[in-house]
């Protein structure tokens, strides 16, 4: 039987670069480049850079 097709989108985790352990989960198309954005981190109470965490350490 044919394998089940992979979904078009994936859920990714954007980690706060303030090293607070705070993160946000987002959904992006599988083929899209990794997400990164400025978002509010409630721990340091500031807008900081959030970068997508790579699963298994591989990034596009």
């Amino acid at each position: 039987m044919a394998k089940k097709a992979k979904s078009r989108t994936i859920a990714v985790r954007l980690i706060s670069m303030a090293m607070t352990g705070y993160y946000r989960t987002m959904i992006r198309p599988r083929v899209h480049r990794p997400l990164s954005m400025l978002k509010y981190d409630p721990v340091v109470k500031k807008k900081v850079l959030f970068l997508e965490a790579t699963k298994g350490g591989k990034a596009k």
């Binding site: 985790r13 980690i15 670069m17 303030a18 090293m19 607070t20 480049r33 990794p34 997400l35 990164s36 954005m37 400025l38 721990v43 340091v44 500031k46 900081v48 850079l49 970068l51 997508e52 965490a53 790579t54 699963k55 350490g57 990034a59």
Partner: protein, 198 residues
């Protein structure tokens, strides 16, 4: 000490009888020799168990040494010629122990009375005396691991790592403007190389 003879008349009968039977000039904790820490064991801290066990196999391996110097035990002075009525006595010919003249309950009663009338040092040294209890507390801590002399409270992991984590966070926040500038320069993530690991 000068005021003590005046107060003798005011003491309750029970204490007066006790002092009549065991005169303070022979039996009291005041005339007992003050214990001193032997030179070889100047640092009593080394004899105390550590709350940390660096080697897992060593866990529980360090039992307290029964021969080690203990201030509280040293306080329980017993003069063989004038047997302390608060302490048991061993008869070496038979190897048997003889109970103290006054049991622990009676000792406690006497100590409480003596404290009330401010004559506690005149009682013989015993397990119910304030000095003994203080010494034992210092040795054992509050029966909570790590509160004794030379011990540390282990605490939760988040408490132990708090300082390092806050330092990391502080460093990251110092570098944040530069990081954001670089990120904007590299096309808002298009040319970004160092993605964090999950």
């Amino acid at each position: 000490m000068a005021s003590i003879p005046e107060t003798v008349g005011k003491l309750p009968l029970r204490l007066r009888n006790f002092f009549a039977r065991y005169p303070p000039q022979i039996y009291s904790a005041l005339v007992a020799p003050t214990p001193s820490v032997p030179d070889g064991e100047a640092s009593a801290e080394q004899n105390l168990p550590s709350p940390y066990t660096p080697d897992r196999d060593a866990k529980g391996a360090r039992k307290p040494d029964p021969e080690a110097f203990s201030l509280s035990q040293a306080l329980l002075h017993n003069d063989p010629n004038n047997q302390n009525p608060f302490l048991p006595r061993k008869i070496f010919t038979t190897g048997k122990w003889v109970s103290p003249r006054y049991g622990l309950r009676q000792q406690a009663d006497l100590v409480k009375l003596a404290i009330k009338y401010n004559v506690e040092p005149l009682l013989p040294p015993g397990r119910k005396s304030t000095a003994f209890k203080e010494a034992r507390l210092a040795e054992r801590g509050l029966r909570i691991k790590g509160t004794g002399i030379g011990q540390k409270v282990k605490g939760h992991k988040w408490e132990r790592t708090m300082e390092a984590r806050l330092e990391d966070r502080r460093k990251a926040m110092v570098e944040m403007p530069e990081m954001i500038r670089l990120w904007k320069q590299r096309g808002h993530g298009r040319g970004w190389r160092q993605w964090p690991k999950r």
